[in-house]
Structure formats: C-alpha cells, structure tokens
C-alpha cells in the first residue's frame, strides 16, 4: 500500500480529464492523473484484430442489462478510439425538456453561451470542416442516397489531419499515422509539458474525505496485459478531485464512495442516456448504386468500399429541426464499424428469425464489402440507472481485456422507442428507395441497445432533484469534487458528443481554478491553446471571469 499527495487529482484522461489537466497544470497546480488503461503511442496502434493488440488494449466494452457501453481504456480515453466527428450540438438541444418535463440544461447554458467554448476546443484540437474530396466512398454514397430522396447531406466537421490520413479504416484501434487528433496530440502533451503526472494502469476505486477537508483517492494497479489482475493498491491525497472516468464509470466510483463520503445526490447513477443511438446496416445492390446514383470508383467498382475510409464523413441533418416535437429529431450519419464488434449485431434484412446468427447471416457476411452503416442519434429519455457497483472498476471483467459485465439497466420508454422507430423508418426509406439496398437495424436482443456515446449519469442542472452537479460541475453537497466528463451532459445531443463534452469541460475550468485557489492552491486561469494559439482564449476571457465568480 503506497500513499502520496498532490493538489489536483484527476480520474481518467479522456476529454474531461485531459482538458482539466492541461489548464490546471498550465496555471501552476500540481496535477496527477490516474488512468485505468495503458499508455499507448503511435507505434502501438496496430492494424490487427489479434487479442492483445491495441484493439483490445484500448477498449472497454461493458454489457449491461438492456444497454452495452463501448468506451476508451487508455491514456487519452475515448479520443484514442473515437472517429473524430466533432459537430456542435444544435440549438434546440439546450432547450430540451426530456423526462423531467421542463428545461433540463442549466439556465445559463445555451448554444450561444457555449459557442465561445466550442471555439476554444476547435482551436485546441483542432477541428475542421471537411470538403467533398475528403469524403470517403461510404460517405459519398450516403450523401448521394440522401440527395436522391430529396434530402440534404453535410460533410461532418472532424479532428483529422487529412494530409496524414491513409483512409485505412483502423482508426478505432488508435491512429498509427497520427492523422487523428486525439488528446495524445494536443491537451495531454501540453499538460505534461507543464508538469502534470499521468499514471496509467491505475484504476480508481473510491474516494474518502480527509480530516482537513480534502480527499483521499484509492486505486488498484492493473496488470499491463491481463486487466483482471490487480498487482497492488494505494491512495493519493488531494485538495481537489476531478472525476472524468466517463459516463459509464464516474457514477460507479461515486456510488462506491457513498459509504465513506456520505449520501450522494439523487442524480448520481441515474438519468443515463445512450445518446439515443441506433445502428442500421444497409446491404447495397451494387448495380443500383451505379444505375440509380450514378456512382463508380476509379477502379470501375460502383461501391464495395466498406473497408475503406475514416469513420463518419457525411451526416444528414434535415431532422435537426427545432420546430419538430421532442423525440422526433435526430441525425443520420454514415459510419464504419469493423468486424468483430460490428457484424454480430447486424441482422439479415427481411430475414426469418433468427436474424443475427445462422445460415442467412453468413450469406450477408459474404457481402460485407457492400455494407453501409448508418448511425442514428435520437432523443432518448435518460432512462438508464446504475445498480449496485461491482467490487472493483465499473464491471466484472470477463475477458483479459475489453469485455466486462456491468450494473447499468436501461429499459427504453415509449418516447425513446418511438424516436428510434421514426429514425429507423426514415433511413429505410432513403436506403431502400429504388432498390438501392436492403436495410435492418442492429438487434437489441443480444447485448441490449448499444452506445459509444454514454452521457448524463451525473448531470449538471439547476435543481437538486434531477441533477447530480451544480451548473459549475461541482458535485452537490460535496465541495471540492468536480465531474467534467460525458456524465455531466444533461441528455442526448442528437449528434456526436465529444465536442460538447470538451466545450463543457473548458467552461468548467475557471470555476475549478477558483475552487482550487480557495483551497490554498497557487493556480491561475488563462492558458492559451495547447499549441500556444490565443484567439480562443480571447473569446472566453470575459465569460471565464464571471464563471470564476470574480
């Protein structure tokens, strides 16, 4: 058992953790980050499905009851495995009522007040708009299909350096070519340069209060190869604790800490949202792609390009219309999911049961190159609830890496189901028009609904009954503990969430700096972007002062 001290202790090194780590370290605080996963570098990011390659080392897949969550498990968190689609959330999202029947976001947050923080992230990571030459065959096909049925379609803004991208489609296992702008290329190296310490393979278990009003954080050290094995344990004392373990893990740490910290706010481990996600697999008719859409590749093929590309490049935003009623707004984005994770849940379109395994399923696997996956992000009802925490981490680990069983329970309400059904029906209408394809949604029967965008399990809000955090991200009734990851986002966003998680984390920092100062830490707010750029900082200067309460 080792024991240590720091000023600011951060749990998790994804968007929430890395952004806080950078600003606090740059401002002069002693920052320690505990990250449960390994610290991988470009050379470690394999093009390989072999168990033990980066594909299993960098991931955490937790099967719950009715919902499974896929997340990152390494230094850089979800940013290392994500597809780098970085749109801002549409204006109406911030006005949503969701399951509580009144506006669920804190009054002070709207798209307008968040935009300067989005700008900061955009400069820091950086995020750029794609043009049609960057759009992959699969994105182009989706755009053409949308157009053919009278819809618009947009190249999505991304955090990819297109000059370096080889369109290998292995980006989920990390980017060997450093084309993907993960946090390993911006906030984290900048945090290290300012003296932050990152300890990989340290899984935080619980938090307790110390006599001087600070906190002691307990961790296990995880074996580098077999994550089921813990090699030692220890604790660190800190004046400020920032939880950023992701929406599937942060509430579990707090639940486990309840015994020592005292009662948690009602919102901890409740109101989980899967961002309303659905995945549909279209199996294209190559002849129709050529005839109906007029598409063909340089090599003469019409499509057959499922293996080629870089994740989502095109989305249809026609249904992100603020005039539509809640639960009927969604985006439809083309996406790539590799085999292994991405084929078991695909169903035979129009087939007889069973549709996820068996003879006919094998036949569609043979047509894999002609698959096109459409990802729907709808408005769900925040119906996820975490049961009793497992003994360690956020799941009982089954496999050496990646696979575990967790305590999340998700039973979709009629609102969510109807949103899913509307979105499924629309994408079917687009993809099956004039015989272009046959399409079916992924089945929920096997591992429940499936999300790569867990949100809202410790959400910010104005009232204590339905939120876990104050609008400044401080845990209600537990001063000095902040949550800056996806769990703080109040509800589904109808688009990819990383940009919003990051903007909220940026927005939370001035308040955390102020709290740190109040606890005697010599720290200032005001660092430029990780690469030294300052226009984002200029954009938020006034806002930051008011958030810090000056």
């Amino acid at each position: 058992m080792t024991s240590d001290k720091t000023e600011v202790l951060i749990v998790g090194s994804g968007f929430g953790g890395a952004i806080a780590a950078y600003h606090l370290a740059a401002g002069g605080a002693k920052v320690t980050v505990l990250e449960r996963g390994p610290w991988l570098e470009s050379k470690d990011f394999d093009h390989d499905f072999l168990l033990g390659s980066s594909y299993t080392r960098a991931f955490d897949f937790v099967v719950g009851d009715g919902m499974s969550v896929l997340g990152g498990n390494c230094v850089g968190g979800g940013s290392v495995v994500y597809f780098a689609a970085m749109p801002r959330a549409p204006r109406f999202v911030f006005e949503r009522h969701g399951s509580i029947g009144r506006r669920m976001w804190p009054a002070e947050i709207t798209r307008d007040t968040l935009d300067p923080w989005y700008d900061r992230v955009s400069e820091s990571i950086p995020v750029s708009q794609q043009d049609w030459n960057d759009v992959t065959y699969s994105g182009g096909l989706w755009a053409a299909a949308c157009h053919h049925s009278g819809r618009t379609a947009n190249p999505t803004p991304v955090a990819i350096d297109n000059a370096k991208c080889t369109n290998c489609n292995w980006m989920m296992g990390g980017c060997q070519f450093d084309a993907k702008r993960s946090l390993l290329t911006n906030y984290l190296p900048a945090a290290l340069a300012h003296g932050a310490t990152i300890r990989p393979l340290h899984e935080v278990q619980k938090i307790e209060r110390t006599d001087d009003g600070g906190y002691r954080v307990h961790y296990n050290v995880i074996d580098d190869v077999d994550y089921r094995v813990h090699t030692e344990s220890g604790s660190i004392e800190a004046k400020i604790v920032i939880l950023a373990a992701g929406a599937g893990a942060t509430p579990v740490i707090l639940q486990r800490s309840e015994e020592s910290l005292g009662k948690m706010p009602h919102g901890v481990g409740r109101y989980f949202s899967g961002n309303g996600e659905r995945l549909n697999t279209a199996i294209l008719n190559e002849d129709k792609v050529r005839e109906v859409l007029g598409l063909s590749r340089e090599d003469g093929l019409a499509y057959e390009a499922n293996q080629i590309g870089k994740g989502p490049t095109v989305a249809c935003w026609d249904r992100l219309d603020e005039n539509l009623p809640e639960y009927s707004r969604y985006s439809m984005e083309q996406l790539y999911f590799p085999p292994g994770l991405g084929t078991i849940l695909a169903q035979v379109p129009g087939g007889d049961a069973p549709t996820w395994f068996g003879k006919e399923k094998k036949e569609i696997l043979k047509r894999w190159r002609s698959w096109l996956t459409i990802f729907l992000m709808t408005e769900d009802d925040n119906e996820g609830v975490f049961g009793s925490p497992p003994p360690t981490g956020n799941a009982f680990r089954v496999s050496q890496q990646m696979l575990g069983r967790g305590a999340l329970k998700y039973d979709p309400t009629p609102n969510t189901l109807s949103g899913w059904a509307k979105a499924d029906a629309e994408v079917k209408e687009i993809m099956e028009k004039d015989g272009l394809a046959k399409i079916a949604p992924w089945t929920n029967d096997v591992v429940g609904a499936y999300t790569v965008h867990p949100l809202a399990s410790c959400r910010i809000g104005d009232d204590a009954g339905t939120s876990a955090l104050h609008p400044n991200h401080e845990l209600r009734d537990h001063p000095g503990i902040f949550v800056t990851d996806g769990s703080a986002v109040p509800g589904a966003l109808t688009v990819n969430p990383a940009m919003t998680i990051a903007a909220l984390a940026e927005r939370a920092v001035p308040g955390i700096v102020k709290a740190a100062q109040n606890r005697g830490i010599d720290v200032k707010y005001g660092a430029p972007s990780p690469d030294g750029a300052t226009s984002g900082r200029r954009g938020v200067t006034k806002l930051a002062l008011s958030l810090a309460g000056d």
Binding site: R91, A144, A153, T166, Q307, G340, G358, K359, V495
Partner: protein, 176 residues
C-alpha cells in the same frame, strides 16, 4: 464436438467429411469451426475458456430436455446437442440467448466468440491470417495490407459534391 456444433450453428459451414456430425452441413464453404472457433474459445484471454467445462454438459442437458419436449429421438451415440438437427439447434440457441434466460450471458458470449472467429479471427494476427487464407476474412473480402502489414487506400473518394448542404449550416460546419 458439442462446441463445434454450437459454433457451426452461429456461422455454419460445410461438412469436413461425409460422417461429420458436429457440422450440420447447411451452408456452402467453411464456417466458424474451420475459421478457428475452438482455438479461439480455448484462448484464455477470452475469459470463457474455464467456463467451457460447464457449458458443454449444460448445453447437452438443454438439448436433452428440448428433445423430450418436442418428442425427438436422438442418436444415443452422439452428444445430445450434436444429435439435434440444424433447425433444432437454432431454436434451442434462440431460447438460450433470449432476454430473461438466466444463462443468457454465457450463451451470448459463446456466440460472440464463435462469430468473431469467422469475421475477425482474433486468435490470429490479421495480416498473417489473410496471407494464410483464413476462410472467414477471405469470405468477407477483406483485402491484403501493404508489404509492411498496414492498410492504406490511396483511392477513397468519389471526389465530388453529392448532395446540397443543409441551409442552416454554420461557418464551423456544424448544425445551427
């Protein structure tokens, strides 16, 4: 043999020899068994290996009960699950993997790995598996990597505008 029959129900293949009982032989070309399902299940890293000793007798017990319920006569020289027809194997797996079945988790993870043996061969290095003619990766049409074992696609785009942009797109390229 019982595990082979389970794997063959998830991704079926053709019989290896005329009296191959484990493989039902309902599909042309190799299936999960030839793709290495048993090797994968016996890879400790999956976390299911230790459980196989329990799952096999359980599966045969379920098959026996299924046969009794449906008044099927099973060949006594075979494990009960192997003695079932392909259609009956399918029906039993549907039942075992249904929501609410108390053993669902175990049967689903078995199915996951049987499927993965075919579609991603995680017991093998991918580039090598393709070079060696892995039947699942080949059936799916996964292409060979470059000489250094990495994939690159210099041609990847239709290279032209294929739809009108949403009218409310902001200068950042996001929805308004």
């Amino acid at each position: 043999m019982t595990l082979e029959a389970y794997a063959d129900t998830i991704v079926p293949g053709e019989k290896r020899h005329p009296d191959d009982h484990a493989i039902a032989g309902v599909s042309e070309g190799p299936g999960s068994v030839e793709a290495g399902a048993i090797e994968l299940l016996e890879t400790e890293a999956t976390g299911v290996t230790a459980g196989l000793d329990f799952l096999v007798p359980m599966l045969n017990a379920h098959a026996k009960a299924y046969a009794e319920e449906h008044e099927l006569a099973l060949d006594p020289s075979l494990p009960e699950f192997v003695a079932l027809s392909y259609e009956d194997r399918v029906q039993l797996i549907v039942k075992l993997t249904k929501n609410g079945h108390p053993e669902k988790d175990g049967w689903v993870s078995l199915a996951l790995f049987c499927n993965m043996a075919f579609d991603s061969a995680p017991h093998l290095s991918t580039a090598q598996a393709i070079a060696d003619g892995h039947p699942g990766l080949l059936a799916m049409g996964i292409t060979k990597p470059d000489a250094d074992g990495l994939w690159r696609f210099p041609n990847y785009s239709y290279g032209r505008q294929l739809a009108e942009l949403h009218p409310d797109t902001t200068p950042s390229g996001s929805p308004a």
